[in-house]
Symmetry: C2
Subunit: 98 residues, 2 copies
Amino acid sequence: MPGDAVKVAPHAYKVVLENDRVRVLESRMKPGETTEMHSHPDLVACALSAAKFKFTLPDGQSMVIELNAGDAVFVGAVDHSTENIGSSDGHVLLVELK
Amino acid sequence: MPGDAVKVAPHAYKVVLENDRVRVLESRMKPGETTEMHSHPDLVACALSAAKFKFTLPDGQSMVIELNAGDAVFVGAVDHSTENIGSSDGHVLLVELK
């Protein structure tokens, strides 16, 4: 299993809040920036900016997600690598559920 | 116990996502706008704009919270009424935990 997002990609993920129910990560990624493969538990992504990300799963399959500022998206527990394939800085809060 | 936020104050809270783990509310409140007393479970508030709110508890005590865009704040289950006492529109995602 890949490592925790914050350990694998500290350039992209920072812990801003943690207690017994949640851990909240702030993610900032510039256009073209990538992360190595890492793990997330179930989470809600709250987009603070418009952004376009490509997520690649361990089996090589990938998907593209476009977010608008203010979007909230549930993401089930997943291992993936990430790339900001848009033209703007990506800024997202990830509310990880314990 | 006061009613659910969405039932008590549909002008301020809209459900944008719900599953077995979370319900996410989008809250928009203009300066001076208020809500009646209502209930929230444990939640993470993700501020999409700067905003200044006054929260009043059932016993009459109140507190003021100022948020900057991008802030994430954990709020334990609470009954309260709300007022936007700032000069800008409040825009917040509330990730309610089940």
